[in-house]
Symmetry: C2
Subunit: 252 residues, 2 copies
C-alpha cells in the first residue's frame, strides 16, 4: 500500500489585498516566489477575508443606519450599533441572542457568530468586512482564473473561522468550494469486517480548511495556502452540500 501523505504549505509574501485585486495572479506569484509553484491537483485554500477585500465587501460602517432594534441592543451591550445593523442585514434569522452573543444564520445558510461580520483586521477604522455574496462563485472565479493564467487545474476552498456549539475554540471550515466535492460519501460502503459503515459522509472541505489554517495562523500575513497530495474527488462541489436544512436540524 502506498503511503498516504499530503502537505499543507502556507503562501508567504501575499500583498495586502485591495478591492479589485486579481487573487489568482497574486496566488500564482506568491507560490512561485517561495519555491512551491502551483501544480495540478493542488487545493488552493483562501481565507474569506482576502476574498471579501478583493470583492469590495469591506464597506464603511456608516453605510449601516441602525434600526431602533439594533440601537437598543447595541446600547444595552455596549456594541457599535452600525455593526449590529450590519449583522442583522447579513442574517436570514437569529438563532440565539444571549446577552451580547448573537448567533445567526447567514443568507447562504451558514450558522455562526454575527453572520461573519468582522470589524477586525479589515485595513482601517470605520470599516467592516462582510462575507462574500456567493462564496462558491468566488471560488470558481479564482479556479478559472488560475487555469486561464497558468493552465493548471486546481480545486479552491474558501475558509473562515467558526465556533462550534459544543466545543470550545474555533476552527477553520469551508464556506466556498470549487473543483472538488465537499463531501466524501461512504453510504453503503462496508468496513473491514463487512459491516455497513456508521460513518456515512466525511466533510473533506472542512478538514482541508482546518489543515490549511494550521499553516496560516491569525497574526501573520498568510491568507492562502496549498494543500498538496490529498486525493480529493474532482467535481462541481459546493459549500451548500454542508449546509443543514433547517428541517433536518436537531438544533434549530
Amino acid at each position: 500500500m502506498a503511503v498516504p501523505e499530503f502537505r499543507a504549505i502556507g503562501l508567504t509574501g501575499m500583498p495586502m489585498v485591495q478591492s479589485g485585486d486579481d487573487l489568482a495572479a497574486q496566488i500564482i506569484d506568491a507560490a512561485t516566489r517561495q519555491g512551491t509553484p502551483l501544480a495540478a491537483g493542488d487545493i488552493v485554500v483562501i481565507t474569506q477575508r482576502i476574498v471579501s477585500k478583493a470583492e469590495g465587501r469591506v464597506v464603511p460602517l456608516d453605510t449601516f443606519v441602525p434600526s431602533p432594534f439594533a440601537l437598543a441592543y447595541a446600547t444595552r451591550w455596549e456594541k457599535d450599533p452600525r455593526v449590529v445593523e450590519a449583522v442583522l442585514r447579513e442574517s436570514k434569522r437569529i438563532i440565539r441572542q444571549v446577552g451580547p452573543v448573537l448567533i445567526t444564520e447567514t443568507h447562504h445558510g451558514f450558522k455562526c457568530a454575527n453572520s461573519g461580520v468582522d470589524a477586525s483586521n479589515v485595513g482601517g477604522e470605520g470599516l467592516v468586512c462582510l462575507l462574500p455574496v456567493d462564496p462558491d462563485a468566488s471560488c470558481r472565479r479564482v479556479r478559472d482564473a488560475i487555469r486561464a493564467r497558468s493552465g493548471i487545474e486546481v480545486a479552491v476552498v474558501m475558509s473562515d473561522t467558526f465556533g462550534r456549539p459544543w466545543r470550545l475554540g474555533q476552527t477553520n471550515i469551508a464556506i466556498g468550494v470549487a473543483g472538488m466535492l465537499a463531501m466524501r460519501d461512504y453510504v453503503g460502503k462496508a468496513d473491514l469486517d463487512g459491516h455497513v459503515l456508521r460513518v456515512t459522509m466525511i466533510c473533506d472541505a472542512d478538514e482541508v480548511a482546518g489543515a490549511a489554517e494550521m499553516v496560516m495562523g491569525k497574526l501573520d500575513a498568510v491568507p492562502a495556502a496549498i494543500v498538496r497530495g490529498f486525493p480529493y474527488q474532482p467535481g462541481e462541489g459546493s459549500a451548500q452540500e454542508i449546509v443543514r436544512e433547517q428541517a433536518l436540524d436537531l438544533f434549530p
Copy 2:
C-alpha cells in the same frame, strides 16, 4: 519569512490491534517500516478505535442487559436493545432524542451521537466498541511508551469521528491529547491593523485530528498518522480544554 508547512503521513501496515497490544511499539515499527520513522516534534494521531481495542473496550453486547426504557426505545426504532443499553450506560445525559437519533453527553463531557458506542468495524459479531475510559491518560501512556522505547519526544492526539449540529457530514476531532496544548490562545493579541482579535482560541487539536483523517480514511487499515512540522505548543494539554461546560453552552 520561512514557508510554514506540515506533512500528514498515514501509517500503513499497522496490525489488526488486539486487547493488550502495545500501540507504541506498533506505531514505531509501522513508521520505520514504511520509511517515515518517528522524529522529535511529531504529533502521533491515533484513532479512538485502536485505543479502545488495545485497552479492552471492545466488549460482548450481552454484557448489556437492557433496561425497560432501553427495550421500549429499541423496539420502537428497530435498534438492538443491548446497544441502546450500552449507549445509556456510557452517557451522562441525553441531549436530544429525536426518532432514532440519540445525541448524548459522555461521562468525559463529549457531545456526540450514541456516546461514541459503535457496533461497526470492531472485529466480530456480538461485540461493541466503547470510548476509552480516560482518553487523555491513554494518550499520555502512548507518548510515554514511545519516549521509553525510542527516546523520541512526540505529542499524541486521539481522534474520533463526530457529527456537527449545524453542518452536514462528519469530521475527525480530538478526544484525547498529550504533550501539546489543545488550544492556541490569541486572547489580547493584536491583528495586522492593531485591533485586538475577534478570534481568541483556535482548537489546534481538532484541526490536527481532521488533517490526520485525510490520510486515514475509513475503509483502509490506516488507524494512525504522523503530523510533522506543525509548531504546536508543548505542554500538558487535555481534551478537557475543548469540552464546553454546560453553563457556558448556548445549546444545552
